[in-house]
């Protein structure tokens, strides 16, 4: 069935709620209004106000409540409308939930899912467009997942809810309206930590995630490049085997991320590959990122700011031709030296 990504999320939540009465939803305007991005549309009607709860504007309060509830037998799914809002609640995820199992010697776990929308592309400006993956990675005990399509959103959401540990699921906001075929059902549930080979090729390995998977696909097509495109899906812990196998084959690694050049999740991948596969690498590694600036408003600026198929195509072509890492657009065009 064709679904928009937001519908796939609703579907996944509904299927989990049907199969497990301990799954509940918490978040701002997720009940009556069906969610600011309509990712819980209709769920109040089906599951009632005990299981689908609108919260006050209290991210620390309701994220923390989900932590407590998850330790006592529920599987709460919390919506953080924009990832930035975790900036008022991060403690509960990183310093509490991720350590509950450790600090209880395994007496309890926190099978909790926090869903947060991330990224730019919709003109929401500097405070509602960041990706901020770094806030949650490198937290032993916490899993981090990013969805990239309606199908992956369905699969990963169900898998995250089943996962016995706390999981944060990052949802690129720009993909909510994406529409494609989705297969639903219990067989779609899998283990987290497994990457997906979105495209198979020869000349290089592209590691992408979330919203950059499509950019990678379009960029390689535009450049006529033959590349493995790995949709990482789980960022913590990430699937080393899939990435390493691909790099072994291609000898070239490119990471495409919507995060500032000065620091983003891609560095973790590059670093592990360099440490483990230095001698498999034929050329330098490449990160395609955003420039080191806050997300600007306005379509023209914002589109330019984001990694684009054009930029990817340009970078890949020149990289394969010269074996060197091309300068990013902001250097080429003279905005930054």
């Amino acid at each position: 069935m064709k679904m928009r990504m937001r519908e796939a999320i609703v579907s996944a939540l509904a299927d989990e709620m049907r199969s497990d009465p301990t799954v509940i939803l918490l978040g701002e305007d997720i009940a009556g209004a069906g969610g600011p991005f309509k990712t819980s549309d209709g769920l109040l009607d089906e599951f009632g106000p005990m299981r689908v709860r609108d919260t006050p504007i209290s991210e620390m309060g309701f994220t923390g409540a989900a932590v407590g509830a998850s330790a006592l037998g529920l599987r709460p799914v919390v919506e953080i409308m924009f990832m930035e809002f975790l900036g008022v609640a991060l403690d509960q995820l990183v310093t509490e939930a991720a350590k509950f199992r450790y600090l209880s010697a395994g007496q309890i776990s926190c099978p909790l899912v926090v869903r947060a929308s991330i990224g730019a592309g919709l003109g929401f400006g500097s405070q509602h467009s960041q990706t901020l993956e770094n806030w949650v990675t490198s937290t032993p005990g916490l899993k981090v997942v990013t969805v990239s399509s309606p199908q992956s959103a369905y699969d990963l959401m169900r898998s995250a809810i089943r996962d016995p540990d706390p999981v944060i699921v990052l949802e690129p906001r720009v993909l909510y309206a994406d529409r494609s075929e989705v297969e639903t059902g219990d067989h779609r549930i899998g283990k987290l930590g497994v990457a997906h080979l979105a495209q198979i090729g020869e000349d290089l390995t592209i590691v992408a995630m979330g919203q950059t998977v499509n950019i990678a696909v379009r960029g390689t097509q535009q450049a006529g490049v033959s590349a493995d495109i790995i949709d990482l899906r789980t960022l913590a812990p990430w699937d080393r085997e899939t990435v390493f196998n691909s790099v072994k084959k291609t000898g070239r690694l490119v990471v495409i991320e919507e995060a500032p050049e000065s620091g983003g999740w891609g560095s973790q991948i590059v670093s592990a590959v360099t440490e483990n596969q230095f001698r498999d690498l034929k050329s330098p590694t490449v990160r395609i990122t955003t420039p080191n600036v806050p997300v600007p408003y306005g379509k023209k600026l914002e589109s330019k700011f984001l990694p684009s198929p054009d930029e990817v195509a340009h970078t890949l072509s020149e990289f394969l031709e010269t074996g060197n890492v091309p300068a990013p657009w902001w250097v080429r065009e003279g905005y930054v030296q």
Binding site: S126, Q127, V293, Y297
Partner: protein, 338 residues
């Protein structure tokens, strides 16, 4: 480029104009409403990227606050700030320019509808994170207090924001340090799509002042003069070093929460009953009754404002989007280490 863009009226002049009298205040309220209508249309038509939050119904609060403060006082406000920005004096060019993402906007077009700022009239960069402005206003007040200045800071935010931790922490901090700060809660009955009674166990938010042993005052947010009076009283108190005040202004959000919201969740008749208390309606009736304006003049003000705003918008539409270089400015201060 349209001639409108060349207007030389400054924010400070516009701020001073407000104090001249009820007519000017009324004109400003009309201006705010007119601009919000235009913004609504532009977003609805998809001419502007992103989202926007209108303050229709809350014009009296914005203008009342602006009247009670000095341009050297500092205001923190939210994503719903077109009104307070204009009330404080910011020009339609600065405000509409920013909303439309043009480089004549107050932040050169990189901020957008949720991010307005003009320090010349005391508007700190507005906040898209609920509650974030409260501690920052307390901090501005801390600067005034520490530097021995007699300015005050004022934080504006919505009813929904009184459930977030930053609200509580800021009031506590301001109380313990007797900071010259005023917290104005614009209780417009809704936080996004949620009616206040579904998220907040008390109806009268000014009562939360008691947790900090500071005055809590409630005011009719539809009445410019009433708002001006209580804010002035709180500002005087703050300037006398007696500390903060919490003011709850009862208003109503006539629009939906943001761009796409048609507010289907409103109880039948609620909007209509509040429209009886439309601040612009109330004020025009008052001014006509008192003989300050004739009904014809009211119409004329409305009409001429509409015209000038349309002209402004037309001029702005003709402008190109900013150069890419805009996004690289002002990330770091280039000023040298001294």
């Amino acid at each position: 480029m349209s001639t409108v863009l060349k207007s030389t009226e400054t924010a400070i002049q516009r701020r001073e104009a407000l104090a001249r009298g009820a007519k000017q205040q009324f004109e400003r309220m009309i201006e705010i409403r007119t601009i919000e209508a235009v913004v609504n249309d532009l977003f609805a038509a998809g001419s502007i990227h992103g989202t926007t939050h209108l303050c229709v119904g809350q014009e009296a609060l914005d203008v009342g606050i602006a009247l009670a403060l000095r341009p050297t006082d500092m205001v923190t406000a939210t994503y719903r700030s077109h009104g307070i920005a204009l009330a404080l004096g910011m020009t339609p060019l600065e405000v509409m320019g920013e909303i439309m993402g043009k480089d004549v906007g107050c932040t050169d077009g990189v901020g957008g509808s949720m991010h307005l700022c003009d320090m010349s009239v005391g508007l700190l960069p507005t906040f898209a994170i609920v509650g974030a402005g409260y501690p920052v206003a307390a901090g501005a007040a801390l600067a005034f207090q520490t530097l021995g200045q007699d300015s005050v800071a004022l934080a504006m935010a919505g009813d929904g924001s009184t459930n977030i931790g930053a609200f509580h922490e800021s009031l506590n901090l301001a109380a313990i340090w007797k900071l010259p700060v005023i917290f104005v809660v614009d209780n417009n009955v809704y936080g996004e799509y949620s009616r206040i009674d579904t998220t907040t166990p008390i109806e009268d938010l000014y009562l939360r002042a008691a947790s900090f042993d500071i005055p809590g005052i409630v005011v009719d947010g539809m009445d410019v003069t009433a708002v001006e009076a209580v804010v002035r009283q709180a500002a005087d108190r703050a300037r006398r070093c007696e500390g903060p005040t919490l003011i709850e202004a009862k208003t109503y959000r006539f629009s939906g929460h943001s761009r796409a919201d048609q507010a289907p969740y409103r109880p039948v008749g609620e909007l209509e009953s509040w429209q009886q208390r439309d601040p612009i309606k109330l004020m025009s009736e008052k001014l006509v009754n008192e003989g300050v304006l004739t009904s014809d003049q009211v119409l004329q003000i409305t009409e001429s404002t509409r015209e000038s705003i349309s002209e402004l918008v037309a001029g702005l539409e003709a402008l190109p989007e900013p150069e890419y270089s805009a996004m690289f400015n002002n990330v770091w201060t280039t000023e040298k280490v001294t």
